[in-house]
Symmetry: C2
DNA sequence: TTGACATGGTTTGTACTACCAACCATCCTG
DNA sequence: CAGGATGGTTGGTAGTACAAACCATGTCAA
């Protein structure tokens, strides 16, 4: 084992904490982590099923069930593309959007006590460092919350 | 929405990336994220079922199945406590320990390209900042990889 | 143009995850 | 010793995820 994996360890540790927060908040709204992410993803996109599967790293068949359940709850809608009648475009409904926004607020509010352990300057610094390792050095507004790998 | 959630967003984004790495590496060894975490947890502990459930934030019944499947694969073992014959102590087997170590190496190796985007000084800084928000300010060697919330 | 192949989604079947409620076994306490 | 509390397992249900088989539509080349 390499002598200095402290950063990798810290990343994994913090990530599990963040996931615990997301999982809890999701479950309070009867949403799995994946559904949560789906909703966040659809806030500023209108992808087809295949794109969604690629974004989330899931199989097409998994997407079918995922979208089907979300649709049954009125959070997303399926629309057939006029250009290619095979493709199904997935959109978020007003109800879904409202839920997604509330979720993000709750997540941020829950994470705040942790991030508030840092001085404002350190918060900016940490944000920058995280963006750097994530590859979003020039913080593009395109790449947003709950993005794909 | 508060004006400055940049740090929270970055944390969530990076966490999803880290989870994607863990999920992929786990699945290459036929391990779910939870099994991965269970294995990591057992590397330096010998908890009873209830403690494991609390650590992982899961129901006792979920732990039964989880441990049962891991035991069937020879990665962990159940041992009855002599003091209290109700409790079941869970231990990692040599095979399980070897796998856990290989997993950690792979995870660290996969994360390295990301963390290597930072200068050594920034890596130390980031480690310190992450430890701070996670509450492990005095980096205790007790609290290790894949810890509980 | 039409036959062959590629692409986009759904369906079906299986295994795992996770919860809850009900249930035994063992411990503890009055 | 009779409750009740605690530790785990079992059974039932829903969701997640994959792979394979499938249908519909699109594309390309002979």
């Amino acid at each position: 084992m390499k002598p200095d994996d402290a950063l990798e360890d810290a990343l994994v540790r913090v990530s599990f904490r963040v996931m615990a927060v997301l999982t809890r908040i999701g479950s309070e709204h009867d949403l799995s982590l994946t559904q949560l992410r789906l909703l966040g993803l659809l806030r500023d996109r209108r992808p087809r099923m295949t794109d969604l599967a690629a974004f989330l790293g899931l199989d097409k068949s998994t997407m079918s069930g995922l979208v089907e359940r979300a649709e049954r709850r009125g959070l997303v809608a399926r629309g057939k593309s006029p250009e290619d009648r095979r493709v199904v475009d997935v959109t978020i409904t007003p109800a879904g959007r409202e839920l997604a926004e509330r979720l993000q607020e709750e997540v941020n509010a829950t994470l705040a006590p942790f991030t508030d352990r840092l001085e404002p300057a350190d918060r900016h610094l940490l944000t920058h460092l995280l963006d750097t390792i994530a590859g979003n050095s020039g913080h593009s507004d395109e790449e947003r919350w709950l993005n794909a790998p």
